[in-house]
């Protein structure tokens, strides 16, 4: 390409030089022609000659006319005015025609000269034969004037020519310089072309030498390559070159081959495919192929033939390289056979694998649990219907889900943890119990098989979960019962022991003293025994009540009661028992009718009232208050006793529970629990407000019996 570009440039420079040469030559010749043309037109002296001739003729005519005016008879025709006029007219015509007229015009005399010519023409008829002397005289004057005029013109033309001559001289001088410049151009371009020519010849001779060397080298190479056959042929497929390699390959000597038609040399070239390739090579298309033949000794042989086009000295030739590739060919055939066997084996194995895979998939599909497989990057490989049907998957995931999004859609289920949200490749093994929807639990387990495939199983464990929950609640109940039993035993051992001790000690004293015992002392002792008995009875009663309540055997028989009456009645009876207690009332005057079981409510009020008195020290003050709010009637019982610590307030309604401030005061811990449960049976509630060492306020509420009263209260 570069060489081509250089060639192109060189050609361009040469062309430019030739063009310059031609141009310079053309200009020089053109200038010389200009000069020649100008010289040819150089008619200055001719002009002047014509004018002087005409002037002379005018003078002659004037003389002739003068003679005619004098009456002279002309012997010679040439002397007559008529003859002289004809001569003058023809002279004038020359002056008024062509180039002459241009010169005359330049000196500004053309008009007057034409006029004179016209007048001469008019005079012609007057001078025929006889000439009137008068006319001759008049004419003579005119013709003489013409002669003067011509003399004037000659002067002017001469002066004009002087001017033009000097112009021309300078022009010629310029032409000389220009021509000189062009000649220099000619010389330079010629010198350049000569140098080029010389260089070109030198290069050509070098190229020829190089070519000869290359030819020798290629001959050397062609003739000494023994493992490769080389054959060259022309467009008619006539062999031009047959190297020793070909001789070795086909066992044909060069002198048998060169000059022969290719197909006549060896049958291999006569085959259709081969001959086609040879022809194509001469047409400029290269080809390479292999040909299997059998060698002269009958063994299989494979030849590689590479046909290439060659252009030599404008001729289109072809060259074919032939190589024995039998060994490679045999090896390749062997490899092809093995390859074929391998392919068959692979096909068989693949079919077996496919079948196993189909079986596995069928098994997975028919399984009751959800199953999905992902590759190690988290891409979904397979998922059965059960997976797709699982609630979060069917809601949140599409066909193209990956393991990360799959796990994330379970993150909202109960039992999920952060591992589901943060799961990215490589995934950890996970096992979680999740609540997919209400009452449906599933175990999600993620396991890895040989570190590549990740299996996800989703097992329905709802049944198992239900059984577990039932067991748990049963266990809780059992634990509660055990606790109650323990509390009961501890309470009984404590509460029952004191009255029993009193009974025992009183009985021992009576027994020891015997007759010594005074009446008063006996009364006191018996009274103590009775009190202890009463206390035991009460304990037993309350235990029984609690048992009844537990067994659900307490029946509520609601009826309409006046709450004020009920409460005041109870208080009066209590006052009798606890004489020292100061019970105050703040109750409405009108009856407050409530709907309840009177017997049970009485127990509640008795319990609250007795508590108030019991935990108020030696001088108990109790305030009982009844009022109505909306459809409910409320009753509160306030004391200013020991109070309940704030942290124990929530527990005081638990069975057998006793506040720590109550230690040293007899009690079972059943009463408040029992009262609260009675109120629950009535659809009411006992509220408590209490401050340690400041007293307590217990309030319970009951529904009002009739609507009318309720409205009034409202």
């Amino acid at each position: 390409m570069k060489i081509n570009l250089n060639n192109y440039k060189a050609a361009l420079v040469t062309f430019a030089a030739i063009a310059l040469l031609a141009l310079s030559l053309t200009f020089t010749v053109w200038r010389l022609l200009n000069v020649e043309e100008d010289l040819r037109r150089e008619e200055t002296h001719a002009n002047l000659w014509q004018i002087s001739q005409t002037q002379f003729e005018a003078s002659i005519l004037a003389e002739s006319l003068a003679r005619a005016a004098a009456g002279e008879i002309f012997a010679d025709r040439e002397q007559t005015p008529e003859f002289r006029l004809a001569i003058l007219t023809s002279r004038m015509a020359i002056l008024l025609d062509g180039l002459q007229s241009q010169v005359i015009e330049k000196v500004g005399a053309l008009g007057s000269l034409k006029e004179a010519y016209l007048q001469l023409t008019y005079a012609e008829p007057l001078l025929k034969d006889r000439v009137d002397p008068q006319t001759a005289r008049l004419l003579r004057v005119q013709v003489r004037d013409l002669a003067y005029q011509l003399r004037e013109i000659a002067n002017k033309v001469m002066l004009l020519n002087h001017g033009e001559m000097s112009d021309k001289r300078s022009m010629y001088l310029r032409y000389v310089f220009e021509s000189f410049a062009f000649i220099v151009g000619i010389a330079m371009s010629t010198a350049f072309l000569l140098v080029r020519l010389f260089k070109g010849m030198q290069e050509a001779s070098q190229a020829r030498q190089l070519l000869r060397q290359e030819q020798q080298l290629s001959d050397l190479v062609i003739n000494n390559i023994s493992n490769q056959g080389i054959v060259m042929f022309d467009a008619e497929l006539r062999c031009l070159l047959w190297n020793p390699g070909m001789e070795d390959l086909l066992n044909i000597k060069p002198d048998q081959a060169v000059g022969q038609h290719m197909s006549d040399i060896d049958p291999i070239f006569a085959q259709e495919g081969v001959i086609g390739s040879l022809v194509r090579a001469t047409e400029g298309v290269s080809s390479i192929f292999e040909k299997e033949t059998s060698s002269s000794d009958g063994q299989e042989q494979c030849l590689e033939i590479n046909c290439l086009p060659v252009s030599m000295a404008e001729r289109k030739l072809g060259i074919a390289f032939m190589r024995d590739v039998t060994e490679q060919w045999l090896a390749r055939k062997q490899a092809e056979r093995q390859n074929f066997d391998l392919e068959i084996k692979v096909l068989q194995r693949t079919a077996a694998l496919r079948q196993a895979e189909r079986r596995l998939i069928a098994a997975i599909k028919s399984a009751s649990e959800g199953f999905a497989a992902f590759d190690w990057t988290g891409k979904l490989l397979f998922a059965n219907e059960q997976i797709w049907a699982a609630a979060p998957v069917s809601l949140w995931c599409s066909e193209e889900m990956d393991l990360t999004s799959f796990l994330r859609c379970f993150a909202m289920c109960e039992g999920a943890d952060i591992r589901l949200v943060n799961a990215v490749s490589p995934f950890e093994e996970i096992e979680l119990d999740l609540m997919l929807k209400k009452d449906t639990w599933a175990r999600l387990s993620l396991t890895k098989a040989d570190g590549a495939t990740i299996f996800v199983r989703l097992t329905d464990i709802s049944g198992y979960k239900q059984v577990a929950r039932a067991l748990e609640s049963a266990l809780d109940r059992e634990r509660e019962t055990t606790n109650a039993y323990r509390s009961f035993v501890s309470m009984v051992s404590h509460q029952f022991r004191t009255p029993l001790a009193i009974l025992d000690s009183s009985a021992q004293r009576i027994l020891r003293r015997g007759a010594e015992l005074t009446q008063d002392e006996l009364v006191t002792r018996v009274q103590k025994i009775r009190n202890a008995g009463t206390r035991l009875t009460r304990l037993v009663e309350s235990v029984l009540n609690a048992a009844k309540l537990d067994a659900g055997t307490i029946e509520v028989n609601p009826a309409s009661y006046n709450l004020v009456e009920l409460v005041v009645d109870i208080c009066e009876r209590q006052r009798e028992v606890s004489v020292h207690a100061d019970i105050r009332f703040d109750v409405p005057d009108t009856p407050v009718m409530v709907y309840c079981d009177g017997m049970l409510i009485e127990q509640v009020v008795v319990n609250l009232l007795s508590n108030a008195i019991k935990y108020s020290g030696s001088t108990p003050v109790v305030e009982v208050k009844i009022w109505m709010e909306g459809s409910r009637a409320l009753c509160s019982i306030r004391d200013w006793g020991i109070g309940i610590p704030a942290d124990e307030l929530p527990k005081i309604f638990d069975r057998f529970y006793r506040a720590r401030t109550a230690s040293g005061i007899a009690g079972t811990g059943i009463g408040l629990n029992f009262a609260q449960r009675i109120m629950h049976l009535h659809g009411g509630e006992i509220h408590v407000e209490s401050y340690e060492a400041a007293g307590s306020l217990f309030t319970f509420d009951l529904p009002i019996a009739n609507a009318e009263q309720a409205q009034q209260a409202a």
Binding site: R40, F83, L85, A86, S90, D97
Partner: protein
């Protein structure tokens, strides 16, 4: 050029041959004498000269040609007789033809010019030439046919108002 030279040689030879036989006497001129030939001639009809009137000239080989008159630059159709025919008629043998005109113009025409076969024109563009129109005889060269004739030297041999030819030898 070679051809022209050869032709001219043949013509000259023929002219020489015919002149030796042109011994036919020339009758005396009856009308106005248009041309007088003198010098080295064989045939005369007056003492030492041959005189031609219009009728005599018209009996000779007639010829016509188209040529451009250099003075006016105009092209005309000239008709007349061949100069060579006139010279043959009088058996002229020379090297130079000395031609002179009524306006006293004189010029020498080399014998060699006869190879161009110049014309003695008597009419131009169908009009008879008169004295005032460069007539009655006008030597006209076939200027447009030969480039060798297109120069001042040959142009000066276009003798108009011709009246006399004198044949000379060196």
């Amino acid at each position: 050029m070679l051809r022209v030279t050869f032709l001219a040689t043949v013509v000259a030879l023929l002219g020489g041959l015919t002149s030796s036989y042109a011994v036919e006497p020339l009758p005396p001129a009856k009308g106005e004498i248009l041309l007088t030939v003198m010098g080295e001639i064989d045939v005369t009809n007056a003492p030492g000269r041959a005189e031609f009137d219009r009728a005599m000239l018209e009996t000779l080989e007639r010829k016509s040609l188209t040529a451009t008159f250099v003075m006016s630059g105009k092209t005309h159709r000239f008709e007349g007789v061949s100069l060579r025919a006139v010279l043959d008629r009088v058996g002229a043998r020379g090297m130079t033809i000395h031609a002179s005109a009524w306006n006293d113009y004189k010029v020498d025409i080399p014998w060699d010019d006869l190879k161009y076969d110049p014309l003695l024109a008597m009419a131009a563009d169908g009009q008879m030439l008169t004295l005032r129109d460069k007539g009655p005889l006008w030597i006209v060269y076939p200027r447009d046919d030969y480039s060798a004739l297109r120069n001042d030297l040959h142009d000066s041999r276009w003798v108009w108002q011709l009246n006399r030819l004198r044949i000379e030898r060196p």
